[in-house]
Amino acid sequence: MEPTWGALAWQGLAAIVTLGIFSFLAGDNPFYKIIERTWVGVTTGYWLMLLYHTSFHDKVWVNIVVQHKWWYILPTFLGLLMWLRLSRKLAWISRYALAFYIGISTGIYIPLAFKNFVFLQLEGAVRPISFDAAGINFVIALVGLTCSLSYFFFSKPHTGILGGMSKAGILTLMIGFGAGFGLTVMGRVALLVQRVIFLRDYSVNLFGKIF
């Protein structure tokens, strides 16, 4: 299928952007800088319109004006208080909004973290030991987990038994980090290959059209 000039022009923009960002690898340069600054402007505009059409419309406009849920005026008022930050004298009033923001966020987090991160992980880790190779691995993992946890002890000096355990713990953590690093490479390279193929296809299309 022959691409149109219009499509090629839009893809050309994409290709220029791609090259501009890549040029940062050679160091900061005007090409990168102009792409970066345009990008920031475009994103901000895009984000503003996205929130305006979706979040603002759904959460503020529809709730108050369409569905008459008048109680949504309260958070809207708090949100507007944030604008007082533009004044040096009245900036502190916005702390009321910040207080709700922080209070609600942390209040939601506490019990949820206990349930999802502490109890669920414990459930996964407490199993009977089976008497085979899997059982041995399980014991190793259990020891690794206990030692790694002991590395995060803050209120006792890491000497003696605790010292030994925390050393074994940090070793386990390092193995985990190494594995995490090594595993990620494949996915990132796949992304890079996609970009390279995009550039190759684009140049093939472009020159095919010209000649």
Binding site: T18, W39, W83, G103, L122, G124, A125, N137
Partner: protein, 207 residues
């Protein structure tokens, strides 16, 4: 007044939401949805002050430094372009000018920056993976072994390697992950309690 009341508000709001977790009743569900909507609404309405900050800084830079002017103009142009093209209600449909810029500027820029991680991984591996200490050595060797699985090796090395990788992922890696998850959760929970109790108030001005 300037600080005590907000700190009390943090406590009250936080406590109510902790209690909410234990109440499955529909009234409590309603409260939860409403509370999370507060965060969303405050977040949306705060956006203008963020944008104002960006535009003001861009303007100041462009005015004070003639070399910067062209870049500042680029930011402004990009911003207004997206706002004007995004105002009509049909602007979010595929094929509109707004979405064309999204597709051909935002998306490729994002994908490119993301793909640059491949280069950065290589250079980080070169700089950081040196056998300075035992710990660095362990990190290095594990990463090496895991990456080696994508290199064709003669048998039986290849089988040994994949067995080893499998073991690393299932045993020590799993233990490390669990420990960090549990540790982070405990740390964050205690920290949250400090916030609710008004002990930790850096964000509101008392260290």
């Amino acid at each position: 007044m300037k600080r005590q009341i907000p700190i009390a508000l943090v406590f009250v709001a936080g406590l109510l939401l902790v209690i909410q977790f234990f109440v499955p009743h529909p009234a409590s569900e309603f409260f939860f949805t409403f509370a999370t909507d507060w965060i969303i609404v405050i977040g949306i309405l705060a956006l203008p002050i963020g944008i104002f900050s960006l535009l003001r800084n861009t303007y100041m830079k462009g005015r004070s430094d003639s070399k910067e002017r062209i870049y500042s103009i680029a930011t402004f142009a990009g911003f207004f372009l997206m706002v004007v093209s995004g105002l009509p209600s049909g602007s979010r449909e595929a094929g509109s000018l707004h979405m064309k810029f999204f597709q051909n500027l935002l998306v490729p820029a994002q994908a490119t920056l993301f793909s640059m991680l491949a280069f950065y991984i290589a250079s980080a591996a070169y700089r950081a993976f040196r056998m300075r200490t035992l710990l660095a050595g362990v990190l290095l060797i594990t990463a090496f072994v895991v990456m080696l699985r994508l290199i064709p090796l003669p048998e039986p090395l290849s089988t040994w390697n994949s067995e080893l990788v499998r073991w690393i992922l299932a045993v020590p890696n799993m233990a490390a992950k669990r420990a960090i998850i549990i540790g982070v959760a405990l740390g964050a929970i205690t920290y949250s309690m400090k916030i609710l109790l008004g002990i930790e108030t850096a964000y509101m001005g008392r260290d």
